[in-house]
Symmetry: C2
Subunit: 235 residues, 2 copies
DNA sequence: TTCGATTTTTTGTCTATACATTAAATTTGA
DNA sequence: TCAAATTTAATGTATAGACAAAAAATCGAA
């Protein structure tokens, strides 16, 4: 393990373990140079990494301090549904319901997404061992993702297809609980009003909108897990 | 803007904008030194930051490449409910329902949490402008958080109190959708079976368990937001 | 040809030093 | 006394150079 990495993880451990509390002061770089018998650049590299991770704050002339936790952020594992289901030894399938290419409607969301072009509108069903797990309503910008128009989405669910074909994305996910509406309930094969986990996601590449998706999962069959901790900031 | 920062944001922009696609090769450090007229350490610092952000991969002898997006993880901002509500200009209050100090029950979760000591059991209601937003059922280890026994939790919700007093924690959150049960529905003032967002969280400091909480939020009044992208790794 | 050893290229780490920047601490001046 | 100017202690940025480590590329021999 490189020295700068050792210094970093030393202090990471002390902070996460509670030995160093928020507001506590860390030794100055000169002292750490002596303690670890290394140059200032090495110490600085270690501390810079801790700054990037949000664990410490540094102020010129004042020193280095354990940061107070600001936003309590966690890493949310967004499961690849197909992989997750298959991991449990069950069978996954995506069943397309509808698919058309159309112009954007009145909705501002649709107008922004289309960006002057057309929208590919895809509805489908996630199936586990033949039983519905969730329904999905998706819009994709034909301008931003030209390949989507001719793509074969019967084999691959559109989410997976997009992940493989759209290079780098920024996304925002909104999670809430709703009761299934009439049409949704019918597809899912449950009573109207059955609690479902609603996942809405908007995706960008740079400033260009790629897709909007709204997924409705049966509440008792699906849940999401998030972690917060030392492994959270790293990838 | 420092030079290393400029180099970093240059490439960040090109990658996020799609100009550089996953798998594309970046110039070697020597070329970047010439291009930016700086030393190798400066180039290296910029590229190291991009590695930390997960935007690029580097291999010795092979070079530097745009990374393929890892879609499985997003950053979930676990909101301090009180702060979030007040930000919207509404009034937040926490109404304690029950509070007692007791021994752990049969449940393995409770035994592990107590760790040989007692448990502080707190039930309460989150109120927005006087109306229920969610109910909360919480267990705190009295051994791990001695201060909790005498804490005044009428003014401050226990979640906020813990955040302020047990700073750096590791946590696991499970999110699902459920229908409100009889007692819960009564406290929330809704019909039994109303869809609710269920948030379960276990929290550690190091290997010591701190708290377990199960929150039930009205589905139409509360949602969670997660982000994936360049801003995700920062805090 | 094909496997194994050697070379070469590129990144990874570290040093020692220099000067810039910021803000706390101190001194100065009215 | 209090506020403005100065000093100073700490971090921030950058340089040039050295050697290490890994893996792709090349070469050599069975």
């Amino acid at each position: 393990m490189p020295l700068h990495e050792r210094i970093r993880s030393d202090f990471e451990g002390r902070i996460l373990g509670g030995e160093l509390a928020p507001g506590d002061r860390l030794p100055i770089e000169q002292e750490l140079m002596q303690e670890y018998g290394c140059s200032r650049m090495t110490v600085n590299k270690a501390l810079s990494a801790l700054v990037a991770a949000g664990l410490i704050d540094r102020r010129k002339r004042a020193g280095t301090f354990v940061a107070r936790p600001k936003v309590h952020s966690m890493v949310l594992d967004v499961p690849d549904i197909a992989a997750q289901v298959r991991e449990r030894g069950q069978d996954y399938a995506f069943q397309p319901i509808r698919r058309r290419v159309r112009a954007a409607g009145e909705d501002e969301e649709e107008v922004l997404l289309a960006g002057g072009g057309e929208l590919v509108h895809i509805d489908g069903l996630h199936l586990v061992d033949g039983a519905p797990l969730g329904v999905e309503f998706r819009l994709v910008s034909a301008l931003a993702v030209p390949g989507i128009v001719g793509a074969d989405l019967d084999a691959v669910p559109p989410g997976t297809w997009l992940l493989q074909h759209v290079p780098w994305t920024e996304a925002e996910t909104r999670i809430s609980a709703v009761g299934a509406q009439a049409e949704e309930a019918e597809w899912l094969g449950v009573a109207v009003g059955t609690p479902c986990l609603c996942v809405e996601r908007r995706t960008w590449r740079g400033s260009e909108r790629i897709t909007y998706v709204r997924q409705l999962f049966l509440g008792d069959a699906y849940d999401m897990v998030a972690r917060f901790g030392p492994g959270a900031s790293g990838r």
